[in-house]
Symmetry: C2
Subunit: 337 residues, 2 copies
């Protein structure tokens, strides 16, 4: 599974970071999904190889603008660009998303040339099946209805025991492909072989939980038991929360890191950073590194702080690898005057 961050800033965009959107490419599939769609998501996609015509499902965690104001433009561009006509798109989100989108379509006379199915999550537990993946909707704690999406890919098929097959005298050839798929085949000598007898047991694929805005990571503990990767907001650090002395309805780096450690999580990606944290070191000012330091004090697994255009690959063994799609320093245009 590939996971590309298209926006990692909380609330407002900055020159370096757009508001939230995450592209998910399920293992061995050309189609892809989007989790959240802040304003400018379609602009960010212009710099990737992801095509809107292959986007089949959009999950919205909650209806705050920085997570959904890019939806109308993305839906419109998918209709205006060639190649998407009649290719269905499913939009999943909290109650209200249907009326929001329908109202915008009505007032701006937006007519889509593909079927758009809008699924509102009205109660928990809700479990969906999308492209053979099980999606569990996980409740978050926020000042608007907010969800996370727990993605459970289909089990990984077992490996064919080639030695055993050879011992049975099965001749080399395309028949092995069918056996690998667990199919029953009839050999030339008339013997019936059940491919599943030659396969090692299936193994569960690594699961990913992409959380929405959430002030209470502790309540995710029961969901984290079998998860290989948690992607969670980390809007502030603890000292900054103390300084603000207010309820922010968001999580600190420490709070998420503690829960991730308690769950013995292998991989944690933090994202959705307040714009007050700068990317470059800035004399006495808050930086993203403050968030990293706070989280790494409490979490001892593999920790990443997401950046725009980072692409992570979660292998079928649950290993998380990172590629930077676009070099950051070139991202800000030179200002003449």
């Amino acid at each position: 599974m590939k996971i590309t961050f298209l926006g990692t800033s909380a609330g407002i965009p900055t020159k370096q970071r757009n508001v939230t959107a995450i592209a998910v490419q399920p293992h061995q599939q050309a189609d892809w999904w989007l989790v959240d769609c802040g304003e400018g998501t379609q602009h960010q996609l212009l710099h990737t190889s992801l095509s809107l015509s292959r986007l089949t499902t959009i999950f919205i965690t909650h209806l705050h603008g920085d997570h959904c104001y890019g939806l109308p433009g993305l839906l419109a561009t998918r209709a205006l660009q060639g190649g998407s006509q009649n290719i269905p798109l499913t939009l999943i989100g909290p109650a209200g998303i249907k009326a929001l989108i329908e109202g915008i379509c009505h007032h701006t006379q937006l007519y889509l040339n593909y079927p758009l199915t809008i699924i509102e999550v009205n109660s928990i537990p809700t479990t969906l099946t999308i492209d053979q993946h099980q999606i569990d909707v996980v409740p978050m704690e926020h000042n608007i209805t907010s969800y996370g999406y727990l993605i459970s890919p289909p089990d990984i098929p077992g490996h064919l025991d080639a030695a055993k097959a050879k011992a049975l005298g099965i001749p080399p050839g395309p028949i092995y492909q069918q056996l690998k798929q667990g199919k029953q085949v009839i050999l030339e000598d008339g013997r019936e072989i059940d491919g599943s007898d030659l396969l090692s047991p299936t193994t569960p694929a690594p699961k990913v939980l992409i959380a929405g805005d959430n002030a209470n990571p502790q309540q995710l503990l029961p969901w984290l038991k079998s998860v290989s990767l948690l992607i969670h907001e980390s809007t502030l650090t603890e000292p900054e929360l103390l300084r603000l002395a207010t309820t922010i309805h968001h999580s600190t780096a420490a709070a998420v890191a503690k829960v991730a450690n308690q769950a013995k999580l292998a991989n944690l990606i933090l994202t959705h950073f307040s714009a007050r944290y700068r990317d470059s070191s800035n004399q006495g000012k808050l930086t993203i590194n403050d968030i990293r330091q706070e989280a790494s004090k409490h979490f001892h697994g593999q920790l990443f702080l997401a950046e725009d255009w980072q692409q992570y690959t979660l292998t079928t063994e649950g290993k998380l690898l990172l590629t930077q799609l676009i070099q950051k320093p070139n991202n800000t245009p030179a200002i003449n005057c």
Copy 2:
């Protein structure tokens, strides 16, 4: 008056051009206005010195998404950023804009910390007065209600006839400031002097018409008589329109140029180019230069083709000057893989 193009692409954004938005800074005013607000307008503004707290009026020409989908995010960021609290904002647009914005605010729980006044233009003629400027709403021809905004700045005050003042024996000093403003003053010797008697006549300031999407530039002729600058869409060239053989509800470069020439217009800026026209020369493909060549065949005044982050200054004498705020070649991030 300064005019900054924040988006010059029609329908969909490209790597080089965002969808429509134009910032207008009236002469000698720190506050500024926005005409249209396509998705990503707030992102474009990050690269200018224009502050959202000084944005006082937004004009929307029509409710197609590429002209208004940036509104919710811009309104939200104006509330989230410091400095705008209680500073009023006026939003002017076609009927439906109030329901559109109120619906989005409701479903996404967007609460603004400043007063937002929404003015719907329900009939033509409509004339508004914004910051001492007369704004005439000009009807366009499009497949949704579309307007242009004719901006008539206040008359330019006359110059003080210093020789005449000296001849009257008025002593040098701050009194001259009051005379320049046409005020009545009493001299130390008891004489009453009326400043307006010493001023040359006021002169009308150059007018600007910023048109919305429009398939019929011919109908603008009566409005163009006293206009120094027309900003108009030029979505396609004539050969491309012929090739498409369909009704596009937009103007060709030739159609706009002919009307501008007929009106003996001094300055014409074309914008809102279909994404099929590329900025760089592209073997056999359509380029922006095709639009330029078609327009310049028919229009003999000063012609510009807008680019993102171009800033034009219209002097009080009606002269149009151009500055490029951001160098284009650095605008596209380097893609690693």
